[in-house]
Symmetry: C2
């Protein structure tokens, strides 16, 4: 099989995971090491976290990193893992449908099997992209998929809840209207981060009758509860990466206070991690 055929197969396999019996559980990686850990743990696919990738390079989240730099990170992860990788490419790096198409082509170029597209505008006075423009972006991405013949999975996200847009009592309807429009415009999955309430999630699954991605983390229903509610896909966003930063804070505190190393225990050895890396080698540790 050619690389393109392999990528096509990976995208198709990834799409099928959204309609399987089991919920698709996607851990979010930010570098090759984190992706390897998830792959070794047996996850069938991996997502990236835009926030995590931005943080490792010193950028705040929210498209402060360039499309090129983000895709460079995605490309490294995709090249190093055998399972499908879906790219968190934020709002597509640009205001126009052509920018979204360009981003989709870059995801395909990077070896990705899927991508997210958010509707956050980055503007305080009008936080969401107008719906017709967002649908044009989705159409432009679908056109890029058709042209290249690589049917990456498009996960279309609305930030109605995350950005707390409009009065609280109108958010559900606003989110449902957007997600329904994304679905009808040809997205493969729709994504509503910021919802943790089981009743709302269950209602949304029924109202959409389409693969739904939920962002989980502390306070969310468990994975099995999400599956019971009919959620198709669950991802963790930047929470895994931020958990490692929490551990770093505890390590720093221990080193500076008791001067001991308890929080450094339960780690893979230097040799273990070396063996996990693509080309093996047994030399020195540091």
């Amino acid at each position: 099989m050619s690389d393109k055929q392999k990528q096509k197969s990976a995208a198709e396999a990834f799409r099928a995971m959204h309609r399987g019996k089991r919920i698709l559980l996607l851990p979010n990686a930010w570098d090759v090491a984190s992706a390897h850990i998830f792959e070794e743990a047996g996850f069938g696919a991996i997502a990236t976290t835009s926030a995590g990738i931005a943080f490792t390079r010193g950028y705040p989240d929210g498209q402060r990193i360039s499309r090129d730099e983000m895709l460079q990170a995605v490309s490294r992860i995709a090249a190093a893992t055998k399972v499908p990788v879906t790219a968190d490419v934020e709002a597509g790096y640009g205001a126009r449908p052509e920018d979204a198409a360009q981003t989709a082509l870059a995801v395909i170029e990077s070896g990705g099997a899927g991508m997210n597209l958010e509707d956050a505008s980055g503007e305080a006075n009008q936080p969401l992209v107008e719906l017709p423009l967002q649908l044009e972006k989705i159409a432009a991405i679908n056109e890029a998929k058709r042209k290249t013949g690589v049917p990456i999975v498009l996960n279309a996200r609305t930030d109605v809840y995350l950005l707390q847009v409009g009065p609280a009592e109108k958010r559900y309807d606003q989110a449902l209207r957007r997600l329904t429009a994304f679905r009808d415009a040809g997205a493969d999955c729709v994504f509503l981060p910021g919802v943790r309430d089981a009743a709302t999630i269950g209602r949304l699954v029924k109202d959409l009758d389409f693969p739904l991605n939920i962002l989980a983390g502390p306070g969310s229903p468990s994975i099995s509860e999400l599956q019971r509610l009919g959620v198709a896909r669950v991802s963790l966003g930047s929470s895994i990466m931020r958990a490692t930063l929490g551990l770093l804070g505890r390590i720093a505190e221990e080193l500076k206070t008791t001067g001991t190393y308890r929080s450094l225990e339960n780690a893979p050895s230097h040799d273990d991690v070396n063996r996990m890396m693509p080309s093996q080698l047994t030399t020195k540790s540091s």
Copy 2:
């Protein structure tokens, strides 16, 4: 002050930390996020970990990564932090003294305040670089420091213990001979990783009468015990980075078994991490 004068001051301040009353405790960072956590925790200087940087990019440890790629990572960390950063640049990326000098110039260019130089050859049948050649490398680095006027701190390391070179009963003498020669050739600090035994460390401090770096981690004497033994500088190598990989393994396990999020708790919030990044922004989370 010019950038060069600032860097000169940082290198001088960093050198002084090797001769202060308190032991110099260096946490090892591998990306900007980890460096920020250490800086916020109040460490006065930060080291990098070559293994950690290599792992995040999918390379095994041991100069499989190029000098350019390693220094690019160091440069990002140095640019994002206010405290002195010392670069783990392995064995200097090349067999010749000119290569070591080139690496020193690249460290200075990257904004570093110090560098390590190991004597591992990477060859199985003769694991250490011949001592006269290693001393030529140190001289070449010192010449690069003189030429540029930026007196980065050279931490000269021997891998006698780490690579278990020769019969066990001769290692101490072999290590002492090398470290003494590094000291006399103009290194600013000498480094013996692989020693955890307090008696041996104490003996080495006395025999050298010079700033000594010890690699600490689970099983090592505590930081205060190392200070009592007269150790000037302690670093953690890749152990902090590997501890985060251990946490990732536990998170993966929890997600796949109970499907809960307990191991994701005790993390800084998305907003907290955004605020930590050089240019601030408050938008959406993902």
